[in-house]
């Protein structure tokens, strides 16, 4: 019960993650310095580190998230991150709107997140630099 099986849409396996790191390395971009307890999510355009509080997500339980925007397309700082979640199979999102607070340069803390059904949720992290939006996604499957 409550065991999470999750995977990254971008880095769907260890191999994909390794490939992404290799690609990023080839571009000369610095990888995230991921603090202990954080996970990494990257695409060729952007990279973040994040963690949930509590670490294990459960259906119907509120949780918080910390997000560090490590890399984005422009030199301009990431002014905000929008974190949202949808259930693609059901065509709906969360019943609650999370609040976000900037806790430092490129660091954001979200509260009020809640995934109210078991199944696969697609979490989206939208990084905003001015009007430019760069999206990273991660799929999470919650067991009942």
């Amino acid at each position: 019960m409550g065991v999470i099986k999750h995977w990254s849409r971008v880095c769907g396996s260890g191999v994909a993650l390794l490939l992404a790191i290799v690609i990023l390395g080839a571009d000369g971009a610095a990888a995230c310095e991921v603090p202990e307890g954080f996970a990494r999510l990257a695409s060729p355009q952007a990279e973040i580190a994040y963690r949930w509080e509590p670490a294990e997500l459960k259906v119907g339980r509120f949780f918080a998230a910390e997000v560090i925007a490590c890399r984005a397309p422009d030199a301009e700082p990431v002014r905000t991150v929008v974190l949202d979640a949808q259930m693609p199979a059901h065509g709906h999102g969360m019943n609650y709107r999370p609040a976000v607070a900037e806790t430092g340069p490129g660091r954001f803390r979200f509260t009020g997140l809640m995934l109210h059904m078991p199944g696969t949720w697609r979490l989206t992290f939208d990084l905003f630099q001015g009007d430019r939006r760069t999206r990273l996604t991660r799929d999470i499957t919650l067991k009942p």
Binding site: V59, H92, R97, A99, G112, H116, P144
Partner: protein
């Protein structure tokens, strides 16, 4: 006198429902259905039961024995109504699993919705069919003031609590203040907190399903075989092709949220019951919410849902996903009591009219299941094993 009758009814219910709802156990020559690993995991997720019931931090008298006694007295006290003829128990009768058996309840007038059975309320995040209240004590205020239910006023509540010597003494004992000295709204809130303290003690017992689920967990095939075979066939439908457990999940068989399942939402011709959409509006307008001054928890530790709830278009026509515990004892069904039997409910989902759904574009969870007659019967058999005697503090 009313209270004594009600508790006698409660005892009768406990006796009457103990095992009476369970179908015939599996015949010796009928093989037990085999469950896949996924089905087994889903079944185990519906327990264990009972869970722990923690006190409500927003209600300083939650779990207080004197408050429970006061709340119990008030629950059955018809003097709390404007006409002196109705009480909470009028629509939440212990003999009917704290429901009333009507399609729509009748207080001072007929209301729009079915009376939700009261049990295991400490597990709720929201209260009422539309979740217009974010605590049990806040929810207990609404029927007292509603013109169609008890039709009282805060002044009426204070006058009752101050004038009756027994109530006044109990009130003073619980709240360390005299009702006559408190503002009417404060007395109303305190009465509601005592009512909540009592209602928190209404819990449902272990069911045949719980015994089966625990036997499955410990690998006790002999005990599992005592569970009705039809219910065993219904279980995979519930957790599998029926997708019932997507919303009715966990030990209390509900996600505590709201959904549109295609039930007509006209309270009467030309008048819509807004469901969750209206509930959120009422929540935000209420002075009795968890973000308001009557929350006894300075840290607002249980207020996150209130703080973050967001009205959305799809909330139109959504109603609460009710717990399925004791479902066989609480007919009729749905927010408007429009379905008389469990079989009618299963048939509704089997042939649901998706044109009635308000859901946004995209694949939807609620779709016609086209169940066979045997599948319908099996699913009903399973649902019938979710009931057990209800107990409440006497």
């Amino acid at each position: 006198m009313r209270a004594a009758t009600a508790i006698a009814g409660l005892a009768a219910l406990a006796i009457a429902s103990g095992g009476a709802l369970v179908g015939a156990p599996m015949a010796r020559d009928e093989p037990a259905p085999a469950f896949s690993d996924a089905e087994r995991a889903a079944i185990l997720a519906h327990g264990p039961w009972p869970p722990s019931f923690d006190r409500d931090p927003s209600n300083r008298v939650s779990g207080n024995a004197a408050a429970i006694a006061l709340g119990r007295q008030l629950f059955f006290d018809t003097r709390l109504s404007a006409d002196g003829k109705r009480s909470c128990a009028t629509c939440h009768d212990p003999a009917l699993a704290f429901s009333d058996g009507r399609e729509r309840s009748i207080g001072l007038a007929r209301v729009d919705r079915n009376a939700i059975a009261l049990a295991n309320l400490r597990l709720n995040r929201w209260f009422g069919w539309s979740g217009a209240a974010d605590s049990l004590w806040s929810h207990s205020i609404r029927p007292i003031l509603d013109d169609k239910e008890l039709g009282a006023t805060p002044q009426h509540a204070r006058d009752l609590a101050a004038a009756d010597a027994g109530l006044a003494a109990a009130y003073a004992s619980v709240f360390a203040t005299a009702a006559a000295d408190d503002q009417p709204e404060r007395v109303l809130v305190n009465i509601a907190k005592a009512l909540a303290a009592f209602q928190e003690t209404i819990v449902s017992g272990r069911t045949p399903f719980d015994d089966f689920r625990d036997a499955m967990e410990r690998g006790d095939r002999e005990a599992m075989a005592r569970y009705p075979v039809a219910a065993q066939r219904g279980l995979p439908i519930f957790v599998g092709k029926g997708q019932c457990s997507a919303c009715h999940f966990g030990p209390n068989f509900t996600n505590g949220e709201f959904d549109d399942v295609g039930v007509p939402y006209f309270a009467e011709p030309g008048r819509v019951d807004q469901g969750r959409h209206g509930g959120i509006a009422l929540l935000r307008a209420s002075p009795f919410g968890l973000l308001g001054p009557y929350n006894d928890d300075p840290a607002r530790t249980t207020a996150a849902p209130t703080r973050h709830v967001e009205p959305q278009h799809r909330n139109w026509g959504e109603f609460r996903v009710p717990s399925l515990r004791n479902v066989a004892l609480t007919a009729p069904y749905m927010h408007n009591g429009s379905l008389p039997t469990l079989e009618a409910v299963v048939r509704h989902y089997s042939e649901v009219d998706i044109e009635r759904l308000h859901g946004d574009d995209g694949a939807r969870l609620v779709r016609p299941l086209h169940l066979s007659p045997r599948e319908i019967a099996d699913l009903v058999s399973f649902l019938e094993t979710l009931s057990a005697p209800v107990s409440a503090t006497k």
